[in-house]
Amino acid sequence: MAKSTKSQEVDVAENGRPALTGEDPAQLRDYYYNMLLLRRFEERAGEMYTKAKIGGYCHLNLGEEATIVGLMAALTPDDYIFTNYREHGYIIARGIEPGPVMAELFGKETGVSRGRGGSMHLFDAKAHFMGGYAIVGGQVPLATGAAYALRYQERPGVVLCQVGDATTNIGAWYESLNLAALWDLPVLFFIVNNGFGMGTTVAEGSSEPDLWKKGSAFRIHGEQVDGTDVIEVRDTVKRLRERAEKEHKPAILDVTSFRFRGHSVIDPDRYRDQDEVKRERARQDPIPTVRQAAHRRPHRRRGLAEGDRRPGSSRRSRRRSTSPRRAPTRRSKTYLTLCTPRPCRTHPAAPRRSRWPSRWGAR
């Protein structure tokens, strides 16, 4: 049960976060866009809940963006996904438009589950997004069964079963691990380990707090992954996914991350030291690093300061998260072509005197 073995040394930036060098900037920009989309969507969902537009429970993925985007970057359209109730980010990163997802949260007929499911029961058959389950651990036997069907029908693909860290204490988890190993099922058990099951820490709930080891009773391979590193998540999932598909061997991924807010929107989060929460949010926020790496350009005169906000980006994401997708506006087209050799006149760091012709005339 080795820990994640990286094929190459991971670059670490000054702040201790992964520097993500060596990755294709276009790819990183795509990850950045999606991570920011999730961030803004979840912030807006939280806001809508306080305005009573969303009812019931609302569990947010704030802080888990790299985990989700990295995961989805590694899965294929053949794969099936089962999640728990903290799932908004997963269905959007899987490719479903934010509009119908928010509509579902609002309880509308135009929602992904036609308003019958709500925040905890999102579903999209075409995207193989199989829900959205609110009973802790309930999805684990289901996911194992879906993997069983893939093998029975001799189809390609694997099943991704996302769970929280506290799920690893419930009976259904253990029975499913046993069946998956016994019957050689292509299922990945993806533990999103934010250190808490509501208010209970991992150590308070699990006699074995190294969750990736929990497969050893079933001879299931387990690895721990830094969930704030989108590339590490992607590469680990890719590797274990291939292993599951070709060799029919299940695996456990213990993906560590930080939950930005309380368990759900109504949780005042009194069991955590809020100073520490603030510090960890700044330290473990996966987005600034990706933003920085995504806009790394070889010929820039000034580098971006950490935490620098590009004026166009957040606004664009915010717009997209609450309305149906529209054709890109002129401004957003400009943003997308930023790092191809054409300067953006709106960005403060853009070179003022450029070798390349400006589309708005010489500056």
Binding site: R116, H121, M130, L142, G145, Y148, L179
Partner: protein, 320 residues
């Protein structure tokens, strides 16, 4: 089951000891040899795990027929059945179906003691999204099991240990399917309606035969389906006979009979000449000792007494 396995490659059987052991009650005898390990799957003792697995597999198009050795063990899997199987189709806006059958014998037999002698069909008849079938004859069992396997929704198929040895007429080579949700009047009568299902239908038929000699004409309504419940047939029968008794193997309070009685008084109140009475299990954990065990379960004698009470003028409330 063999015929359905042969007919549809997506059908598979799953359960404890159904393959190599050929079933603890020999229901699946010979099927492993005929169809192989892929179609007849021996599971470890993990009801929640393998029922949930069957549901997940059904969501991707398989049609698993899961055997729970006896209904007493279904409780460990009840979360998957009630929170997932019954709700997946609805709460995901119709995008997924669960064409799974769970077959399990209900009711006690012999001296199996408290945790091996229970009847929980009402727990499932309670749930929207499930279908619950409880046949009493071999003919009904075959037609309804076929219907259950071919149905795209989750079906709980209630069998009976005591009925496994029954023999009855079943047409050969006939691919007949019985509709789910339709009761059958197994015996026509004019004086009193006895509503029953599963093993109790057999008891009701025996008692009806006896009472015939005493001049009471008993109409026996065999429910066959508990959910959907054929309220029309029940009510029509009571409108004809004006008296009703329910005989059920489960416990008296909150059992299947409670629903029948409520239905009858709601829809045929003015037709009743006596209160609707129920013959059911005594509300104790079933004791082991033979005499105690027998005394705790409803039998022919109890039904006879109850029928007579209902038929006497202004029948009193009767409870054992």
């Amino acid at each position: 089951m063999g015929e359905e396995l042969a007919r549809d490659p997506n059908v598979l059987l799953m359960g404890e000891e159904i393959g190599k052991f050929e079933g603890s009650y020999k229901i699946t005898e010979g099927l492993l040899t005929e169809f192989g390990k892929k179609r007849v799957v021996d599971t470890p003792i993990a009801e929640e795990g393998f029922v949930g697995l069957a549901i997940g597999a059904a969501m991707l198009g398989l049609r698993p027929v899961v055997e729970i050795m006896t209904i007493n063990f279904i409780l460990v899997a009840i979360d998957q059945i009630v929170n997932h199987a019954s709700k997946i189709h609805y709460m995901f806006g119709g995008q997924a179906r669960v064409p799974m059958v769970v077959r399990t014998p209900s009711g006690g037999v012999g001296q199996l003691a408290a945790t091996h002698s229970q009847s929980f069909e009402n727990w499932f008849a309670y749930c929207p999204g499930l279908k619950v079938i409880a046949p009493s004859t071999p003919y009904d069992a075959k037609g309804l099991l076929r219907a259950a396997i071919r149905d795209d929704d989750p079906v709980i198929f209630i069998e009976s240990l005591a009925l496994y040895e029954t023999k009855g007429e079943v047409p050969e080579g006939d691919d007949y399917v019985l509709p789910i949700g339709m009761a059958e009047v197994k015996r026509q009568g004019t004086d009193i309606t006895v509503v029953a299902y599963s093993r109790m239908t057999v008891v009701a038929m025996q008692v009806a035969q006896q009472l015939e000699q005493e001049g009471i004409s008993v109409e026996v309504v065999d429910l066959r389906s508990l959910r959907p419940l054929d309220r029309t047939t029940i009510v029509e029968s009571v409108k004809k006979t004006n008296r009703a008794v329910v005989i059920e193997e489960d416990w008296y309070s909150y059992g299947i009979g409670a629903e029948i009685a409520a239905t009858i008084q709601e829809q045929a109140f003015d037709y009743l000449d006596a209160p609707v009475l129920r013959v059911a299990g005594i509300e104790v954990p079933l004791p082991y000792a033979a005499k105690l065990s027998q005394a705790s379960k409803p039998g022919a004698q109890d039904l006879e007494e109850c029928d007579l009470t209902a038929c006497s003028k202004g029948g009193k409330r009767w409870q054992k």
